[in-house]
């Protein structure tokens, strides 16, 4: 009887830890399959023959389809430029310039809403929808409260992820990411 209890505890704890460790690698912890600088993280082998099960799972587990970086150069941010996890109750300013690409889009999704099967909000903003400054820079406010200028509503509050996609990127983007020129994400007021 004692052995049965020990077996049950070992199996439940073991399977649980196995799933948690897998989910952490799938989410990019440890940076084994990712390239990053600052808050932005990319999965360079996504949608290619050199991809692996962790990279494939990263997309499919979160209800996205993996796509080649030669088609779309995708970057994700789960933290702001200070390294704090993104919170949908806060306002963020996304500030910077974009590398040369045919067009780009920026949107958010919430891992919590995806896993809980609640209806997430879907909203994005793109290169032809925003106001640029004279020097080509732009500022986008990510907030649940109405904002002046470029405004994007977050998809949820917990497990928030910002996705930046460069469609049809030039070869210089796909060959060497220049993370230094990527937009910064600065946290403002929180509710």
């Amino acid at each position: 009887m004692n052995s049965l209890v020990k077996f049950a505890v070992s199996s439940i704890a073991g399977l649980g830890l196995g799933v948690i460790s897998a989910q952490m690698l799938i989410d990019g912890y440890g940076s084994f399959f990712t390239a990053s600088h600052g808050p932005w993280v990319s999965w360079p082998t996504a949608g290619t023959r050199s991809s692996n099960p962790y990279v494939r799972a990263h997309y499919l587990v979160h209800d996205r389809l993996p796509i080649s970086q030669f088609e779309i150069n995708e970057l994700e941010a789960r933290v702001d430029s200070q390294g704090k996890p993104l919170d949908g109750n806060c306002t963020y300013e996304i500030d910077g310039v974009m590398p040369k690409t045919r067009w780009w889009s920026l949107y958010t999704f919430s891992q919590e809403s995806s896993s809980r099967q609640t209806l997430p909000k879907r909203a994005g903003i793109g290169s032809q929808q925003i106001f640029y400054q004279n020097d080509g820079r732009f500022k986008i406010k990510l907030s649940n409260e109405p904002q002046t200028g470029n405004w994007l509503v977050p998809a949820g509050t917990d497990g928030l992820v910002i996705v930046l996609r460069h469609y049809n990127p030039t070869r210089s983007i796909t060959n060497q990411f220049n993370f230094d020129k990527l937009p910064t994400i600065t946290r403002g007021n929180c509710r």
Binding site: G14, G18, V19, L60
Partner: protein, 181 residues
């Protein structure tokens, strides 16, 4: 063997099993489940332009500024032919295996006059067609060998707002996915 060491070893084995099963099988299982949705219950392949509600149900974390059209197919019942119509706007086509591995991708800037015919076949179908010279390929035709029997063709179009969404949804209907000749 020490009792504590034995149970630690059992726990480690279960950690490995849980880890591998989750990474190797869960994503494919999730993807296969989407393919079996009622939306895709038609017997012949065809592009289905996904509306907002369907996108939230199937791919809630995909880019909302992109309109998706999905064609689930099964090459065991014959080859599948995808015809790309000339379009002024950006489009891209990706073909996935049943478990979500991408094995072909192309966009409008890689085609001549944005027009293309793609034939997706099993390896044996492709060999027969070539040996018997049944299929005379022309430059704007591409033959792809499907690594799995079932799969998805996914078309992506850029949309700026709700007005262009309805225009592009109409344009997407000119792109066809059907059983091959």
């Amino acid at each position: 063997m020490n009792g504590k060491f034995f149970w630690l070893l059992i726990t480690v084995i279960f950690i490995l099993v849980g880890h591998l099963v989750y990474v190797l099988f869960f994503p494919g299982y999730k993807m296969t489940g989407k393919l079996q949705a009622d939306l895709f219950s038609q017997s012949t392949p065809a592009f289905i332009v996904l509306n907002e509600k369907q996108m939230i149900e199937l791919f809630p974390a995909e880019d909302p500024s992109v309109l998706h059209a999905v064609c689930p197919f099964d090459v065991t019942q014959g080859s599948v032919r995808i015809s790309i119509a000339p379009a002024e706007r950006y489009w891209s086509l990706s073909i996935y295996s049943q478990k979500g591995d991408s094995y072909y991708a192309i966009n409008d800037s890689q085609t001549i006059d944005s027009k293309l015919d793609i034939h997706i076949q099993q390896a044996v179908q492709k060999e027969n067609a070539l040996e018997e010279n049944q299929r005379k390929l022309v430059p704007d035709q591409t033959v792809i060998e499907a690594p799995t029997e079932k799969g998805w063709a996914v078309l992506r179009f850029r949309v700026l707002n709700q007005i262009t969404r309805s225009v592009i949804a109409e344009q997407a209907k000119l792109f066809t996915c059907k059983r091959g000749d």
